[in-house]
């Protein structure tokens, strides 16, 4: 009997939709970022034939109340980032190709497009022992330090694909929640569905995307870091007389912003003194 069922299943697998049902997946996430103000951005992860695309829906981004975010996040003392939210309507997107183990990222920095290619996996995960249920799935915690930021995620083995929001992935199951420990980003899955939105043609999207020329991460990092640094200098040097000390304009992704900002801040303090320290000294006196 079982063999018959098996054969039936197998036939169905070939001739009908069962493959489609199981090899296709769409996960919708919401990302709450504390980039100066609290912004909620819907995002989606599309997966089919071992290729995944993660994209933000910046056109649907909203500012949310601090009260709301405090409800969402248990990080009450999270520091506010020194950046601004500009409603650009321009989306960031990432491809993960599990066949070739490559990760592609699209960035818009200084109003210029960049395509970056990196190798998978993104790093080594530390599995945790915290558990929680998200969207009815039993999830386990895991953590990683990636691109200068500590992440804590919850993944489920019930959906055994090594993907997640943003560039995260490489676990034994789908990541349904991911937050950066500094409180900057917090992704939560809001919908998991077995079919991809009809307007998405992942296969064509991906093959078109591959026609781009790509930079390596370190090339991109170096380039944008330099530009951010110069941009800061430019701002200083274009105003009359006393200009701003440090300033970063573009809300670029990941730690480039923070690294650059830290670098600029450090240099600024070295040159002009740390105002906090200066104040401490005066109060001591």
């Amino acid at each position: 009997m079982k063999k018959i069922t098996l054969i039936l299943c197998f036939l169905l697998g070939i001739y009908s939709y069962s493959q489609k049902d199981l090899n296709q997946l769409q996960v919708d996430y919401e990302n709450v970022s504390r980039a100066g103000v609290n912004v909620l951005t819907p995002c989606s992860l599309y997966f089919s034939n071992n290729v995944a695309k993660f994209t933000t829906h910046a056109e649907k981004a909203e500012e949310i109340d601090k009260k709301e975010i405090d409800k969402l996040s248990d990080c009450e003392t999270c520091p506010q980032s020194k950046s601004i939210f500009i409603k650009t309507g321009i989306n960031n997107y990432y491809y993960q190709d599990l066949n070739s183990n490559l990760l592609y990222s699209y960035y818009l920095s200084f109003k210029k497009n960049f395509q970056v290619k990196e190798n998978l996996p993104i790093g080594e995960w530390k599995l945790g022992d915290k558990q929680k249920e998200i969207l009815g799935y039993k999830c386990q915690s895991a953590s990683i330090t990636y691109k200068g930021r500590d992440w804590e995620v919850y993944f489920t083995n019930a959906i055994p694909i090594p993907l997640g929001p943003w560039k995260l992935g490489g676990l034994s199951g789908l990541i349904l929640e991911a937050k950066s420990v500094d409180g900057m980003y917090h992704y939560t899955a809001t919908k998991i569905s077995a079919e991809i939105d009809k307007e998405i043609n992942l296969k064509d999207d991906y093959s078109n995307y591959l026609k781009n020329t790509f930079l390596t991460w370190s090339e991109y990092f170096e380039l944008v870091n330099k530009k951010l640094y110069e941009s800061n200098k430019k701002t200083w040097s274009e105003d009359d007389e006393t200009g701003s000390g440090f300033l970063v304009i573009e809300p670029t992704m990941e730690n480039i912003y923070n690294v650059t900002n830290d670098k600029i801040r450090k240099e600024f303090y070295e040159k002009w003194g740390n105002p906090d320290e200066a104040e401490q000294q005066t109060t001591q006196k």
Binding site: L6, F10, G13, S18, L22, N23, E30, G36, L40, N50, E62, E63, I64, E68, Q80, F85, K111, L127, D129, L135, G136, Y137, N157, P160, I161, P162, S172, T188, T190, K191, I192, S193, A194, K226, E230, S231, K233, K234, T235, W236, S237, E238, D240, E241, T242, G243, S244, F246, L247, I249, E250, F268, K271, W272, G273, P275, A278, E279, T282, T283
Partner: protein, 880 residues
């Protein structure tokens, strides 16, 4: 359950290289095909829910994994997308030498779609949010200082006018409430930066919330989100005292609570610093005055000004006292009341010398006037606004303004070296404005507005000269000119606004009525100088109008056609001659503008318009009025229309990546049936007669500005250039009608460094040239040159020092008549502390006068003005 049936352990050839803690194996399906990307989950038997380690299969379905830890009992689970998972306990994995083989069964269970309800969210569109802290370096004091540093926002140093993405900002709101109106400088120049939590820049701003997304608003506004502290009050006090006899003190108090928003400021200074949005030094118009221009009367007798190329802070010798109280009170959830009360008092002292040389029709003579002025403006003003939210979709607003101003100017005048006069000018200005506006939102896409407006502006002026100018006889003692311009303006208008798939539209229908009574009388010892020097008239104008405008946006294009049809009726009554003029016309005024966004970086903008303009108020005087000690003015009243055609073209390029911006614009305008001047210059009195002719003026302007940051120089370089060419006609001392041309060129070069040392440099060079031609012959020309160099030094513990040298050469022909100004400024900041100090040293070389040349097609003049003396000012500021 039946999994075990499918688990087969296979024995492979072993070469003895396997370590006990390394586990390897293969995952295949029932057909024997390898499964790629299957997960091998290792768990402890006691905790079967937690994965402790895991690995994945390669394309061959194989895996090799070295366990990191020791486990008493190991549970292995295999998962793969589309397959049922399997679990197996391995007791002696240490002794396991042979690879494991797993055969997975296809899953028949499809993934279920699961959804979570989304969070409550607040919508904000077209808005940029700035966290001011992110842009602060601790040196900022007032909101204006931080605004200058926010990307996209520019602040005009002199006027305090703010623009966002190149567009002038309409209002600066406090927590969403428009407390200051057009005079937002009150807020931005006085509110301390520490009080602000967030700055929001709003595009497509609709002050009326009901018109949001319905009206095609190109307006931008800023909103300051105020920090919610423990107390509702915050403020600062600044005390500045200096040598010699200089003061600069101010006090500000801001109160923000749910029901009440209040702001109070009081300032006193004699260093030429303007804390207000009013300019009584130069009388340049602020945004509010520009907007109200068509409803306000004209000032005919000229006020004294001290214009020129120098900063107002060098030439203004005054004693300004300014007070403002603004508050907004929410009486009820649906009713709010707002008022702004102003009191301003100032005393300006100026010492101006003019030497004007006329060269006309082979004649040449010189006039000199030496004015020692004391000008005392005083302003008392109250604005009111009441808002009533009638229902969710209806809003009723009333706004009103009462303002009274008087300016008393006393002058000791020495004319042509020998004639000494005492002159007095009293100009009063009374404004009363009322507006009632009702808005009804019909649905999400349509709204209706009805508006009633009434205003009255009265400008009586009295000018007297002692001794007299001897119009009647050589024995009269005093000459007196009275002038009284009044304008009553009323308008009723209905607007219908809507947005559709194609774009947004507005249709307005209304009537507009104004009457302008004017009278003037020139007397000597209370005796009229003559009929020729007396005006008593009234001008009436009414318009029935229909205006439509449509904005179409598609892809890279934005097109905006608009048409206005006016039925214009004018009447002019001269009560002295008892004559009447009248005219009725239908005016058809179309306009069209187009914006094309070539790319993210470059935008083209083009517009054309045509209009017919009725007579302007200053040409309504058929008989002479003495407008200054040198000039009489009158005109030939003609109610015909002046035609105006304008064309403009602009291009902007903004490359953020390469730090390069370029802005180019060109404007051309042409009038027809315009007014022209006939001047009669003499060694004593001049007169100007305005008359209409079937000719026009032509005006062409070009503007170019480009800026680039050069990384290897660590500097920003900026170049800007202006060119204007104005063709006009006039008659000078019984000449024929002359064709003139005024050409102006100016260029600016700016260079500022951002070096990695505590000292940086800023250099600026400005060159300006004015050329005047009559019948294509160059009559006069002047070139001036200005160079400013600053050294900006910052030391630890927040000391900023700026040393600057300012060089002026007002006339390049006279190389030895040049000026140097040296200034210094030191700021001591203790961030987070409540106090800071500053020291200002101005005009170190103590220049007392400054002269410059003005040229025209008939004269060249030398203008000399007094300057604010050298001073050193110590300022102490405390925030609370």
């Amino acid at each position: 359950m039946s999994q075990k049936k499918y688990i087969i352990l296979l024995f492979f050839l072993s070469f003895g290289f396997h370590f006990s803690q390394t586990i390897s194996g293969k995952v295949i399906n029932e057909k024997g095909e390898p499964i790629f990307s299957a997960n091998i989950l290792f768990k402890e038997s006691q905790k079967p829910d937690l994965v402790v380690e895991f690995c994945q299969t390669n394309k061959q379905g194989a895996f090799t994994y070295k366990l990191k830890k020791e486990y008493p009992k190991l549970l292995v689970e295999i998962t793969a997308l589309g397959y049922q998972s399997q679990q197996q306990e391995i007791e002696n994995y240490h002794t396991l030498v042979e690879p494991l083989l797993f055969v997975l069964e296809k899953s028949t269970q499809a993934l279920k779609t699961v959804v979570v309800k989304s969070y409550k969210i607040k919508e904000k569109n077209d808005t940029v949010f700035y966290n001011p802290k992110a842009f602060a370096d601790g040196t900022e004091r007032k909101v204006e200082d931080i605004l200058k540093k926010l990307p996209g926002i520019e602040v005009n140093e002199k006027s305090g006018q703010i623009s966002y993405k190149g567009k002038p900002v309409e209002t600066v709101n406090l927590d969403g409430d428009n407390l200051f109106g057009y005079n937002y400088q009150l807020g931005t120049r006085n509110i301390n930066v520490d009080m602000v939590e967030q700055v929001q820049a709003i595009e497509n701003y609709s002050e009326n919330p009901l018109l949001k997304n319905i009206e095609n608003s190109n307006k931008v506004a800023l909103n300051l989100k105020i920090k919610k502290g423990k107390t509702d009050y915050s403020g600062n006090a600044e005390l500045g005292l200096g040598y010699k006899d200089v003061y600069n003190s101010s006090f500000n108090l801001l109160s923000v609570s749910q029901k009440l928003k209040g702001f109070f400021t009081s300032s006193y200074n004699n260093i030429g610093h303007n804390y207000t949005s009013f300019d009584y030094n130069d009388f340049s118009l602020n945004q509010e005055q520009i907007n109200e221009q068509t409803q306000n009367a004209k000032k005919i007798i000229s006020e004294t000004t001290s214009s020129g190329v120098l900063d107002a802070e060098r030439t203004t010798v005054n004693n300004a006292w300014f007070n403002n109280l603004s508050f907004l009170y929410k009486i009820h959830q649906k009713v709010s009341f707002k008022t702004n009360l102003y009191y301003y008092k100032d005393i300006f002292s100026s010492d101006n010398y003019y030497q004007t040389q006329y060269a006309v029709n082979d004649e040449s003579f010189t006039n000199t006037d030496w004015y020692k002025n004391e000008k005392k403006p005083e302003l008392l003003r109250a604005d009111f606004e009441m808002k009533w939210v009638v229902s969710k979709n209806a809003l009723l607003q009333y706004s009103g303004k009462v303002s009274t101003e008087n300016i008393r100017t006393q002058t000791n005048l020495l004319s042509d070296v020998t004639e000494n006069y005492q002159t007095k000018l009293l100009s009063e200005n009374f404004i009363f404005r009322n507006k009632l506006l009702f808005t009804q939102k019909l649905n999400d896409k349509q709204a209706f507005q009805a508006q009633l407006f009434f205003s009255k502006n009265d400008i009586p002026q009295q000018y007297s000269l002692l001794p007299s100018l001897h119009f009647i006889s050589d024995f009269t003692e005093i000459t007196q000119q009275k002038s009284n311009f009044t304008k009553n303006y009323a308008e009723a208008k209905v607007d219908f606004l809507g947005s559709s798939k194609l774009g947004k539209y507005v249709i307005s229908i209304g009537i507009q009525y104004e009457d302008i009574p004017y009278n003037s009388l020139l007397t000597e010892d209370n005796q009229s100088v003559g009929n020729n020097y007396e005006n008593n008239l009234c001008y009436y104008k009414s318009n029935g109008f229909l205006e439509t405008s449509f904005t179409y946006k598609k892809g890279k294009w934005q097109l905006q056609p608009s048409i206005s049809i006016k039925n214009n009726t004018q009447a002019f009554k001269d009560f002295i001659t008892n004559s009447t003029l009248s005219a009725t016309d239908i005016i058809f005024a179309p306009a069209f503008s187009a914006i094309y966004k070539l790319s993210r970086k470059s935008v083209f903008n083009a517009s054309v318009s045509y209009d017919k303009i009725p007579i302007e108020d200053e040409y309504l005087l058929p008989n002479f009025v003495l407008t200054s000690n040198r000039n009489l003015q009158k005109s030939s009243v003609d109610l015909a229309f002046q035609e105006l055609k304008t064309t403009s073209l602009s291009y902007s390029y903004n490359d953020n990546y390469n730090f390069f911006t370029l802005l180019f614009s060109g404007n051309y305008s042409e009038t027809d049936n315009d007014f022209f001047s006939r001047y009669s210059f003499s060694e004593t009195l001049n007169n100007t007669f305005y008359f209409r002719m079937p000719y026009g003026n032509k005006n062409l302007m070009f503007f170019l500005k480009t800026d680039k940051y050069i990384p290897w120089l660590q500097s920003t370089l900026r170049i800007s250039a202006n060119y204007s060419n104005f063709l006009y006609k006039n008659i000078v001392n019984d000449s024929e009608l002359r064709n003139n041309k005024a050409a102006n060129y100016s260029g600016e070069f700016f260079w500022k460094t951002a070096l990695d040392i505590p000292i940086n440099f800023q250099n600026e060079i400005k060159v300006a040239q004015a050329d005047f031609y009559t019948e294509n012959i160059k009559i006069n020309s002047n070139t001036s040159f200005n160079y400013t160099s600053s050294i900006i030094a910052r030391f630890k513990k927040r000391i900023t020092a700026v040393f600057s040298a300012d060089y002026f050469l007002p006339d390049t022909q006279k190389r030895n008549e040049d000026y140097w100004f040296l200034d210094a400024k030191f700021d001591f900041f203790f961030s987070k502390s409540k106090y800071n100090f500053s020291i200002i040293v101005k005009n170190l070389l103590n220049n007392t006068t400054f002269s410059q040349r003005f040229v025209s097609d008939y004269s060249t003049s030398l203008y000399q003005t007094n300057l604010l003396n050298r001073y050193i000012l110590l300022s102490f500021n405390i925030n609370f």
